[in-house]
Amino acid sequence: MSEHAPQTKPNRPPRSCGVIAEYSEEHHLLEAATKVREAGYTKTDAFTPYPVHGIDRALGIKPTILPFIVVCGGLLGLTTALTMEYWMNVVDYPYIISGKPFASWPAFIPVAFELTVLFSAITTFLGSIALNRLPKFSNPVFTSPKFDRATDDRFFLFVDSQDKYYNKKSVEELLHATHPQSIEEVKEDSTPSNIPRPVLICILLVMVAGLIPASLVFKMRNGMDPLPRWHVFFDMDFQPKKKPQQISTIFADGRAMRPQVAGTVARGQLEQADPYYLGYDPSQLSMIETQGVRLVSSAQEPAKAVENRVASPRDGQPPVPAETKSVAEQPPKVEPPKAEPETVAPADPAPTPVVTAAPQAPTPVDAKLQPPAVPAVSAAGATQAPTPGVPNLPFVKKIPMEVDEAAMNLGKQKFEIYCAACHGVGGDGDGLVARRADELAQGYWLAPTSMHSDAVRKQAVGQVFYTITKGKGKMASYGAVLTPKERWAIVLYVRALQRSRNANLDDVPEDQRGSLAKGE
């Protein structure tokens, strides 16, 4: 039998391949197989509609090496999976997910298991086909029409002419004694084995057609096209919405962007003018900007800057309730009787703390918030120099809210929740995140700033507030997360932390000095 070859005349008479006997009963086949084997034939085979158990023993068929191949396939799958997972998720694309380590072996097991099974199964499937030398569409035994029943209800025993004891006569005699239904000589499949021309042409056409998409992709990857790309899928590229500066047919003025309605205040607009929310005084800013003075030079040209700022007008000052309150509680003689907020004022003659002892403050710590070493003169300029990314702004120099133990506690609480993760509980820039990042040593991590570095210590409170609000470098902005009160409280706490590193015995309340000396 042949599937797809037209019958053509063979060039030579078909060669004999062996003898085949047909049986209708399983046990006849088994008996015959045993006999044939006992007669010394080894190149034999049986063809049955179902696996006849015992035939392998009767014919002397050796067990297959398939299990061994499958084990190799499975191990290959396991190795592939684990290597792939490790390389992809640990080496090439490490990405922190739900706090799990990069090499999360328990999570790697399911895929490793699946690929082990997949590789083993593919090996089994392909291995068994390959060991059986399939597909094989031309087989000498198929030439007999009787053989069609080998897959139905008949059993066949075949003795190959290649067997060294093969002799057609004697084989046929031997088989005759085994109750066969029939005995036939098997002839070579004489149909030509070359592929017919139409089939060849079809294959060729399919192959050429297969090249078309590949070459299209190649052209698109390597060429330029002035036209926009095809939108097979829109991917939200075209949305029913207006972008800025576009025309609208809905409104009489034809503008898609709508101006602010007269007499309304947009969300956030009020706060745009209040140093309590900003950390700097915007009125100063506008004045400075109109005069075209660059504050960055203020360190080098203190006199000029001083002039500018001292001359700054106080009109247009927005109401600052929190601040007013704090002013009311400040001892009038300590602070210069200036209007709040206090902008960076180089006019101050000496490096004196802006906020000095506040006798009525609840705890002694609160009274000494500002480290005395902070030179009020160059708060803006000096701190800007090393960090050019931060704009020079007229930062507030004094915390515009009431400073008491409650504020300090609030600041401590919020600092430890939001800041300590990176900056560390002590503000040294050694939080858990920073330490973990150091362990990972990925190279692109920027260490969090220490609160005790000179640069930070020299910053005005307003600048610290500004940094918390807007974020800086890798640090995210916390303006949306923390209320202004909480942010100022954090600033307060940071000041306290800084002070704590530079304290001397005088800072300790008198009644506790004794215990300190004892080394407690």
């Binding site: 039998m1 067990p63 099974v117 199964a121 059986n132 094989k136």
Partner: protein, 475 residues
């Protein structure tokens, strides 16, 4: 042949200890089995086939049209809405994957346990596995939003992304598990079919059929050497498919259980999901095979004993599922974890009480009817019960997915899930696709593993000879 095929009155569900009831009835011979099975594909199909096929393919067509509409419009056409983002698509996915499991169980696990009765039903069950996996695979594929980029799930070296999939994600485990399952099931199914395709080839009258089946069967000759390697390969595939089938629904359960969502995060989930999958799969096999054996007149091959055995497995797995429900409930109470107990009380008495009690009625109570032999040997009743089971198992996935999500940790986002009509149409469309494929399978491929049934017949005849001959020294 006609006289043989019509004598299916023997009750082979009665089993006298020491003497096995026949698994193939009606005095079959090797040839009559071939005739019975090949006749299905060779004879014109009965009218009922055409009616079913017309209905099924129209539903399948609707399914694909709706998928096209989904791609055009986006997932907003479904009822998925905060907080229930995993709604019907995932429910349908888990449902179909579960259905698939019975096929592998029959073909692999029962094979390892030498359960000969599997041979008459394994082919159809395996085919059902493949088709169910096809339906299952479609749902998460179109659920990803931009379905045309679903291939991003595979680890391939991308020139644009420079990214790799995240192997710590259970959803990716799913991709591998379902992918492996589909591939292995397909190989297993095809492997088992090779000898039968050769029978089809050898019986073909037309040259074209002979060519097609000849190519499909790879030129199988039935050589004993081939059989030996083939059987070994089949055994190995069975041994591989057994842990695989367990792992697939286990991984599906991990999708839920590794999270912290109350009602999902419980350790019984893996075995409980597997039991539920087998439960629903067997119910589907029974639902399909009872009409099939009637329509094609193969009651002598798929006998009442086969159906009864399947019903017993449905009873066992149904009870296991019930046990798991009870364990979950007990543990929710025992743990004194208030989230967990809330989740379970909410399931039973919250807004989705109707779904929960449908599930319990269909899954726990209805299979208990199979304790009675009368019920588990009545074709009509067993189909009805099995349909109830499948409804219940769909509701189980609905209850798990929707009730837990609709009451998550953030009470402000609690909500009530409402499906759209498209949700419902798509699910019925997937049923249509499944049936279409199954009907085509009945039409063109051997629905019963002839070579295996012949092997069982040989063993049966052998045992009979042995039994009657008592002292005979055979074997």
């Amino acid at each position: 042949m006609a006289t043989i095929a019509n004598t299916f009155e023997i009750d082979n569900t009665v089993d006298i200890p020491g003497r096995r009831a026949p698994l193939v009835t009606g005095n079959q011979t090797l040839g009559s089995i071939t005739n019975l099975v090949c006749g299905i594909a060779e004879r014109p199909q009965p009218l009922i086939w055409y009616i079913c096929f017309a209905i099924a393919i129209s539903f399948a067509g609707m399914f694909f049209s709706l998928i096209a509409y989904l791609l055009y419009k986006g997932v907003g056409i479904w009822g998925n809405m905060s907080p229930v983002f995993w709604a019907w698509p995932i429910v349908n996915f888990v449902f179909w994957v579960g259905i698939a499991h019975a096929g592998t169980l029959i073909s692999a696990i029962l094979y390892l346990f030498r359960q000969n009765w599997r041979t008459s039903i394994n082919r159809a069950a395996e085919a059902m596995t493949i088709f169910a996996v096809v339906c299952a695979g479609i749902f998460p594929g179109i659920h990803v939003g931009r379905a045309w980029l679903a291939f991003w799930l595979t680890p391939y070296p991308s020139l644009n992304l420079w990214m790799w999939p995240q192997f710590r994600s259970p959803l990716l485990w799913d991709v591998f598990a379902v992918g492996t399952y589909a591939s292995v099931s397909l190989m297993f199914w095809y492997m088992g079919m090779i000898p039968d395709l050769a029978t089809y080839r050898d019986r073909s009258k037309s040259k074209f059929r002979r060519l097609i089946y000849g190519i499909l069967c790879l030129g199988w000759s039935g050589s004993s050497r081939h059989w030996m390697r083939y059987e070994k390969a089949y055994l190995i595939l069975a041994a591989l498919a057994t842990p695989l089938v367990l792992s697939v629904h286990t991984v599906v359960s991990f999708d839920f259980a590794v999270s912290q969502v109350p009602g999902w995060h419980t350790t019984i989930f893996p075995p409980y999901f597997v039991a539920g999958a087998i439960f629903s799969g067997f119910a589907m096999v029974v639902t399909l095979l009872v009409p099939v054996r009637k329509i094609y007149g193969i009651q002598n091959l798929i006998t009442m004993r086969h159906l009864e055995n399947m019903n017993k497995i449905i009873l066992v797995t149904g009870s296991l599922v019930g046990l798991a429900y009870a364990t979950e409930f007990f543990m929710a109470w025992y743990s004194y974890n208030q989230f967990e107990s809330f989740a379970f009380i909410n399931r039973a008495f919250g807004p989705y009480w109707w779904a929960y009690w449908t599930m319990v009625t269909c899954n726990v109570i209805s299979p208990q009817l199979f304790w009675f032999k009368k019920l588990r040997t009545s074709p009509v009743l067993m189909v009805i019960i099995c349909i109830f089971v499948n409804v219940g198992m769909w509701f189980e996935r609905f209850v798990i997915t929707v009730t837990s999500l609709s009451r998550d940790f953030l009470p402000s986002s609690w909500g009530y899930f409402r499906p759209t009509m498209i949700d419902g149409l798509m699910f019925s469309g997937s049923l249509g696709l499944f049936l279409t494929l199954f009907l085509l399978f009945c039409r063109f491929l051997p629905i019963i593993a002839m070579s295996e049934v012949k092997g069982v017949l040989s063993i049966q005849n052998h045992a009979d000879a042995h039994h009657h001959g008592h002292g005979s020294s055979a074997h």
